[in-house]
């Protein structure tokens, strides 16, 4: 690798991460639906079967529960599996294994067994894939003790979050937003790793904090750009890690800005955004100089038609409007 920052896609970053992990550790292998011959539903694993072979890149039947459960068993028996579930909508077919086994066995066994499993899945809407391929369910999983939930939004995180996820003794779920796969970004070769514990301030600002993650990050940054033109300096926090939440970074920011908008592609009711808001209320109520606002998906199954789909999702204009309403309320 040269010393010059490379411009690559998020998809390529995911692929590089998987390839490097498998080459680095004989315990690591990838399995999932169409990860081998097909090259991955979102082409993330294209070419890996040819290079790494069938033992390490394993095509599975359409048996989410069986192969996720097999990943858990293999992890308990000393392997470091990366299991790909095509989309988080399909992960519901493996919910039993994830929630009842992976998340419980370490505690239920009194610490006799760990489950060092990595589960990757696509999430989110924006490609007109309709209601059974477009939902954002990471907030659900963030409810479950025992799991670590990651949402890489940048090329750097896509490239570097996998290694620490595999090193984690606990089950780690990585949610990759489908609209990010084609996104290009700079990959700085000087950066050799990232943490999977802290949120990041992607843009500093003093007037209002915008909290988001994953596919909504770039919409939120666009909103912050628009606000800057109006003289409103918005701080943008990329949560990165949805469980355990890095509450300290959130509270520190709000103590400075005293205003907050939470942007979450999940639905508002019972959502991750609700959890973030409640943490703020619990820990920083007296810092607030305005109500907490949220921009979430409309509460509908994500529809197929492009205009309806876009209308259902958080958009930069709505994010900017919510922030503006806090900083310069109309009277």
């Amino acid at each position: 690798m040269s010393g010059v920052p490379a411009r690559i896609t998020y998809r390529e970053a995911c692929r590089q991460a998987i390839r490097a992990a498998i080459l680095a550790d004989p315990r690591v292998f990838l399995m999932g639906e169409d990860v081998g011959r097909y090259g991955g539903c979102y082409a993330v694993t294209k070419g890996l079967l040819e290079e790494l072979g069938e033992e390490r890149i394993r095509d599975t039947p359409l048996s989410e529960s069986a192969f996720v459960g097999a990943g858990i068993g293999a992890a308990m028996a000393g392997m470091r599996p990366i299991v790909e579930v095509m989309t988080c909508n399909f992960s519901l077919l493996a919910l039993d294994q994830i929630v009842n086994n992976a998340a419980t066995i370490p505690h239920m066994s009194g610490g006799q067994f760990a489950v060092p499993l990595v589960l990757r899945m696509a999430t989110g809407a924006g490609r007109q894939l309709a209601a059974q391929h477009s939902h954002s369910l990471e907030g659900w999983f963030a409810h479950i003790p025992g799991l670590r939930i990651l949402a890489p939004a940048t090329v750097e995180d896509a490239r570097h979050m996998l290694a620490p996820a595999l090193a984690d003794p606990n089950p780690v779920l990585i949610f990759e937003h489908i609209m990010l796969y084609n996104m290009e970004g700079e990959l700085d070769p000087a950066v050799q790793g990232v943490d999977i514990a802290k949120a990041r301030i992607r843009r500093p600002g003093r007037d209002v904090t915008l909290i988001t993650y994953g596919g909504s990050l770039f919409k939120t940054l666009a909103a912050a750009d628009a606000l800057a033109v109006e003289g409103i300096q918005a701080e943008v926090i990329d949560l990165r890690v949805l469980r355990p939440l890095d509450t300290a970074t959130i509270i520190e920011s709000i103590t400075r800005t005293r205003r907050v908008v939470i942007v979450d592609e999940g639905w508002r009711s019972g959502s991750l955004s609700a959890e973030v808001a409640m943490r703020i209320v619990e820990e920083a109520f007296f810092e607030l100089d305005a109500p907490i606002r949220r921009v979430c998906s409309r509460e509908v199954p994500i529809p197929y038609a492009a205009h309806l789909e876009q209308a259902a999702l958080p958009q930069a204009e709505a994010i900017a409007a919510a922030a503006r309403g806090l900083v310069r309320p109309a009277r």
């Binding site: 293999a74 028996a77 066994s109 670590r148 003794p169």
Partner: protein
Amino acid sequence: MTAKVHLDRAHGVHLLREMLRIRRFEEKCAELYQAQKIRGFLHLYDGQEAVAVGVMQALGPQDAVVGTYREHGQAIARGIPMGPLMAEMFGKVEGCCRGRGGSMHIFDRQRRFIGGNAIVGAGLPLALGLALANRMQGRKAMIACFFGEGAADEGEFHESMNLASLWRLPVLFVCENNLYSMGTPVGIAEAETAIWQKAAAYRMGGEAVDGMDPVAVEVAARRAVERIREDGVPWLLECRTYRFRAHSMFDAQLYRTKEEVESWRKRDPINRLREWLEKAGHLHPADLERIEADVVAEIAEAVAFAEAGSPEPVEELERFVTMDEVPQ
């Protein structure tokens, strides 16, 4: 190892002793449950002892066992000492899972007992992964995965049979068909009640065996294990058995008749083996008295161990929710 079973005196008495240990242990559990020493759900194995005891004879220490939620018998037959088992049911820190699992979630890393699992069918995918890891790491070991016939109703059964056969994973699937999933008879839950015949649909070997006969189970298990070790392919062994007691402690058993239970009691695996051993001159009344006395003493010791145990400090409540390292 061979599939042949030499039922000499020592082995016959060993099988009997193992079944008695399970039976008496659980009788004590029922008593302690009513005395409120044990709480939660308690599912007794009473009547099914031949299955666990028979299958375990075929396994070596390198192999692993995936259990069900009715797993006291599986755990005892696998060699988990009664003390930590009883302490677990007492919810004590000396329990094998430090009181976090209870009756339905017995784990023992040292004896490769990978859990009582209270989600019907959820242990099957785990067994696949354990077997896959063994093969990828070059370990000549296999997995015995216990489940009830109710698990065959679940999608995970189909997914796991298919994947195990497809990937030629060394798993012995042990179906304990006790005819009822809670109160639902197998006849109204399964279109094909001969569970072992489902193996054919996955190009997998299988057979049914009298689950009330420990010798028959052991013979069938040894045969299956031998094939699995030779060919590296999975096997489905259906053990036809019966539980004499209710599904759990709070069950009026409206779904079956006393006559049916009585007719199965006549096939009690312990009585059958005892009678056979007595007829064969392998067991004298004094022998049985001595075995019973040993078992009673072992259980008394286990209860005393559990009674003397201490509760996990509440400050440790969240310990092991996430692990700091992978136990080696």
